[in-house]
Subunit: 432 residues, 2 copies
C-alpha cells in the first residue's frame, strides 16, 4: 500500500465520516503515523444530503476531499480502499489494494440503511446515505416530474407525483419539508403544465409522533410545520410492503407511488474479521467499553455509529448521529496519546449539545437542554450551526451563498439530471 515505514506507532482509521475525521484531526502531528482508509475520496456531510436530493445544494457543497483534510499533517496518509477483512491476530487490515499492519486500529465505518429484512422495500425503494444515492434520488424526482407532464392516465400520474417517505426521523422530516417547498415554490415555475395540487407528500412514521427522539413539544411543532407546508403526516403507521408501486401499511392505508423513500432506520456497518462476540447482534454495532475498546480487544477501537457504548444514561448506546461520533473521536485521540505516554485512559462521557431539525425554508425545531423552541429563530440557529460545521472554508461560503439565493428567490439551485436514474437501472448499492 506504499505507506512508508516509520518509528512511530501506526494508527489505521477505517472510515472518513464524522468520527474518523475528528479522531484524525486530534492526532495530526502527534507521535503516531496515521493512515485513513475510505472507499470514497471525500467526507460527506450527511445531515445535508437531503438538500442534494431536492436540488438545493450541489455535492461539492456538502462533500470535502479527505486528502485535503489529511494533508494538514505530515504523518498522515489517505488511501482510497475498501476493507475486506481485519486479521486481529496478525494486527493487519486486508483491503482491495493490499494488506497493512497496525499498532492501533480504529473502526469508524458508520451505519447503513436498515430494511428490517423487508426484501421488497430493499429492491424497490430508494434511500440516501451517500452522495451518489442522493443524486439518484434527485434524478428520480425530476424524471418523475418530466414523465408526469406527459402522462394522461390519472392513476399513473398520481403514482408519479406521490412522494412517500417512511420514517419521520430528522432525514424523513427534512426531506418531506424540502419536497413540500419544491411543490409550493418551484413546480408552478418549472412545470407549468403540471397541476401542482396533484403532488402529494406523505410521511409515514411507526411511532405516534414525528421526530421521536426529540421533546414532545418539538415533535408537535414539527408536525404542525409539516402540515402547514401541506405534508400529510401519518403516525402510528408501519410499512408492510412495497411492490408494483403500492405501499401497504398496518392501518390498511395504501399509497400508490413510484417514489418510495426509505429513511426508517439504520444499522451498523461492521467489517469482517473480528470475533463474533464483538458485535451486538440486533444493533449490528461493536460493543465497546468506556474507552471505545471493542469487547475482547485492547488495540481495536470503534467510534461513532458503529460503536455501541452502553451505560446508565444510554442503556441502548448513544444516538447514531454526528455529535457522539465527533465527541468519541476527539476523546479517543486523547486516550490514545495517554496510552502512548503510559498514562491511564479516561472514560468517555457524552455531552448532549441538543438536537434540531429543519422543516422547509424557514422553520426548525430545537431541543437545547431544557430549552425547546421552534420557528424562524430555530431555523436561523439551525442554519448557523450547519454552516459552522461544514468542513472547509469554501464549502461554507458556497453553501451560504446558495442558501441566501434560494431564500430570496424561492428558487432552488440546480435541477440537473446528471445521473439519469430511472431508465438506466442504476443500482442503489452503497458503493456506487
Amino acid at each position: 500500500m506504499n505507506i512508508p515505514n516509520s518509528e512511530l506507532p501506526r494508527v489505521i482509521i477505517i472510515g472518513g465520516g464524522f468520527a474518523g475525521i475528528s479522531v484524525a484531526k486530534k492526532l495530526f502531528d502527534k507521535k503516531v503515523q496515521l493512515v485513513m482508509l475510505d472507499k470514497r475520496n471525500y467526507h460527506t456531510f450527511q445531515p445535508l444530503l437531503y438538500q442534494v436530493s431536492t436540488s438545493g445544494l450541489e455535492p461539492d457543497s456538502i462533500a470535502y476531499p479527505l486528502r485535503k483534510i489529511l494533508n494538514k499533517s505530515n504523518n498522515s496518509f489517505f488511501r482510497l480502499a475498501e476493507v475486506d477483512q481485519i486479521n486481529a491476530d496478525q494486527k493487519e487490515v486486508k483491503t482491495n489494494i493490499g494488506t497493512l499492519s497496525y499498532d492501533y486500529l480504529i473502526i469508524a465505518t458508520g451505519s447503513k440503511t436498515n430494511f428490517f429484512g423487508n426484501e421488497n422495500v430493499e429492491k424497490n425503494a430508494v434511500w440516501m446515505k451517500s452522495v451518489p444515492q442522493a443524486l439518484n434520488l434527485r434524478s428520480l424526482i425530476l424524471e418523475n416530474f418530466e414523465q408526469a407532464t406527459i402522462t394522461d392516465n390519472v392513476e399513473k400520474r398520481k403514482a408519479l407525483l406521490n412522494f412517500v417517505i417512511a420514517g419521520a426521523g430528522p432525514t424523513g422530516v427534512e426531506l418531506s419539508g424540502a419536497l413540500a417547498e419544491l411543490k409550493n415554490h418551484i413546480i408552478s415555475k418549472d412545470y407549468k403544465d403540471l397541476n401542482k395540487e396533484e403532488i402529494q407528500v406523505h410521511l409515514l412514521e411507526g411511532e405516534d409522533l414525528v421526530l421521536p427522539p426529540m421533546s414532545k413539544k418539538s415533535s408537535a411543532n414539527a408536525q404542525r410545520f409539516l402540515e402547514g407546508l401541506g405534508v400529510h403526516v401519518h403516525t402510528s403507521t408501519f410499512v408492510e410492503d412495497y411492490k408494483n408501486n403500492i405501499v401497504t401499511t398496518n392501518t390498511g392505508k395504501q399509497f400508490n407511488t413510484e417514489t418510495f423513500i426509505w429513511s426508517a432506520g439504520v444499522t451498523g456497518a461492521p467489517v469482517k474479521g473480528l470475533q463474533a462476540k464483538a458485535i451486538v447482534e440486533k444493533a449490528n454495532r461493536y460493543e465497546v467499553n468506556a474507552f471505545n475498546q471493542i469487547k475482547g480487544y485492547t488495540d481495536v477501537f470503534a467510534i461513532g455509529d458503529i460503536a455501541l457504548m452502553q451505560n446508565e444514561d444510554y442503556p441502548k448506546g448513544h444516538p447514531m448521529v454526528a455529535q457522539p461520533a465527533i465527541q468519541q473521536g476527539e476523546h479517543l485521540a486523547k486516550n490514545l496519546l495517554r496510552l502512548l505516554n503510559n498514562e491511564e485512559m479516561k472514560p468517555f462521557s457524552y455531552y448532549d449539545k441538543g438536537t434540531m431539525a429543519t422543516i422547509g425554508r424557514n422553520k426548525a425545531v430545537v431541543d437545547l437542554g431544557k430549552l425547546k423552541f421552534g420557528g424562524f429563530f430555530a431555523w436561523f440557529i439551525w442554519m448557523f450551526v450547519h454552516l459552522w460545521f461544514l468542513v472547509g472554508f469554501r464549502n461554507r461560503i458556497v453553501t451560504f451563498f446558495n442558501w441566501v439565493y434560494s431564500y430570496v428567490n424561492y428558487d432552488r439551485a440546480a435541477r440537473l439530471i446528471v445521473r439519469p436514474f430511472k431508465h438506466k437501472k442504476v443500482e442503489m448499492s452503497d458503493t456506487d
Copy 2:
C-alpha cells in the same frame, strides 16, 4: 406529448445547445408555439466542460436547466425526449415519449465526437462532449492518481501518470493546460506521496501547429505557453491506434498511458428521417441554404454545428463553435417571423467576433480581427467573455467566485469522485 393545441403555428426545436437556445429566446412571446426537445434537461456550456473534467468547476456552474430558460415565455414548452425519427411528409417528429406535429422544424442537434473510424480509439479512449462524460474523465484522472500512489511497478505507474491528449484544438489545448496546472499546483499538496515529475502531459496534433484555426501568432504563443507549463507538444503527429494502453503514431513515437483523451474532431449528429441528399456525407451535416433551410425542404431548418452553409467566405461551412450557432439561431428567429408576416427572408451572414483559447490559469490567446495577442490580458478578456456568456445569473456568480478562489489559492474546487469510473465499467456513451 401533452402539448396544448394552439391557433399559433408550432415550431419544434430539437436540441437545447447554443443554437437551439438562441433561436428559442428570440421567439419568446411571438406568434408561435415553441416546443423544445432535448434528451437532457439542461443546457451545457461546452467551452467550459474541460473545467469540470479537471475539477475546476462543478456541473451546475456550466449547466443550466432548460425549463428555467423556456419558462420565461408563455407559449414555450420543454419536453425531455429523445428524437427517433422525423417524418417530413406528415410534418411529424417521432420521439420516445410520443409523436408531435410541427409547422416548422428546427434541427439544432449539434455534433458528436469523430473517431474517423478508429474502433480501438472509440473503445479505449475517453472524451468529453457532455457533463456526465466530463465527470467520468474527472473520476478517471483522480482514480489514476490514487492508483499511482500505491503502484510500485514503474512502467505501470508511468501509464497511470501519463496523460495523452489527441487534438490541439481549443478543447485539447485548454485541457492540457488545466492538467499541467493540476500537476504543478495540486499534486504536491494532495498527493504528497507521488513524485509530481512522473506526471506527463502530452498533446498530439496532426497539423504542424497547435490551434490550427487561429492566427500563426496565436498558435505560436499558445505552444510557447503550453511548453512553459511543462506540456509536451507533438505537432505533425497522427494517432494510428490505441490499445493495451499504448498510443501509436505515424512518427513512430509511442505513448504508454491509461488516459488517452480524444479531442481530435467532431462530426455532425443528424436525426433519422430526412432524405439522404439532405446530408453532406463526409461532414455528416445538413446542407442548408443562406436561410438555414435544409436542402429539399422549406419548413425544416438546421442551425449550428449540424448545419453546413457553404459560401465564398466559408467554402467548408462555418466553424463548429458557439458563435455561428448563436448567430444562426438569432437570424433564423427573425426569418421565421418574416415568413409568418409574408415578408421575404434575409440571407445569413456570419460576423466573426474573434476566437480565443485559454492556457492554464493566467494565459490565453486571442484573435480579434487584425488584433492578435496573448498573455495575461488575453486571459482576462477570455474570463470576462466566458463569464458574460454563461447563461443565468447564479452560474455567473458561482463560477466567478470559484475562479477567484482557485486563482488566489492555486487550488481547485472539488476533487470528488462522484462517478467512480474505472472499476465500474461505465460506458462512455453519449446518452449516459
